[in-house]
């Protein structure tokens, strides 16, 4: 019973995170301006990282942790580069 409850709770959490990704993607498509899209992309990255962490719990595998770490790092780099580009017109001066 307890294992069923754990799996059910994690499934609900994954559904919520997938919906959160869908909302962020919707904002990414709607804009209206470039910095709105960058903010939506950052949110999308964070939600994807949380979703992959929850997948790691469901499959009881440590491999997903590294994937989540890499996604978190890439999310930061891409968002920071995009924000820097919007700020100055070039990424590295």
């Amino acid at each position: 019973m307890s294992a069923d409850f754990v799996l059910l709770t994690l499934a609900a959490a994954q559904l919520l995170l997938a919906l959160a990704m869908a909302f962020a993607f919707c904002r990414l498509l709607r804009g209206p301006r470039a910095h709105d899209r960058v903010l939506a992309l950052d949110t999308l990255y964070v939600n994807a990282m949380l979703l992959i962490l929850s997948f790691g719990i469901v499959w009881a595998s440590r491999d997903f942790f590294e994937v989540a770490l890499v996604i978190g790092a890439f999310g930061f780099v891409s968002t920071a580069a995009a924000a820097k580009f919007l700020l100055r017109g070039e990424v590295i001066e």
Binding site: A3, L10, L17, A40, T43, A83
Partner: protein, 97 residues
């Protein structure tokens, strides 16, 4: 103990969900910056705490890898939002909308 871990993950997912909902529903950019931070701070912290608790229970040894992601998020999120907010401020000076 795994039940507590699953509930922590659910609470974190709920925060991330509400943050993304706010991102979709708010009207202006400077309102929209606020909601996703719920997911990136407390949401991430709760999911990571759940993951840490779950693997510590299942493998019956102390598993602390998750702290790495927590440190990464804590350090990088303010930098990202600072750059983004500054860019938005600069760009909204150029053209009002």
């Amino acid at each position: 103990m795994t039940t507590v871990a699953a509930l922590l993950v659910l609470a974190g997912a709920l925060l991330a969900f509400l943050g993304s909902l706010g991102l979709l529903r708010m009207k202006t950019f400077f309102e929209r910056v606020h909601p996703p931070t719920m997911g990136t701070t407390l949401g991430t912290a709760l999911v990571l705490a759940g993951s840490l608790l779950y693997f510590t229970t299942v493998e019956s040894r102390l598993v602390l890898h998750e702290i790495l992601i927590a440190v990464l998020m804590t350090v990088t999120t303010p930098v990202t939002y600072l750059l983004l907010g500054r860019a938005a401020l600069r760009r909204s000076d150029e053209r009002q909308d």
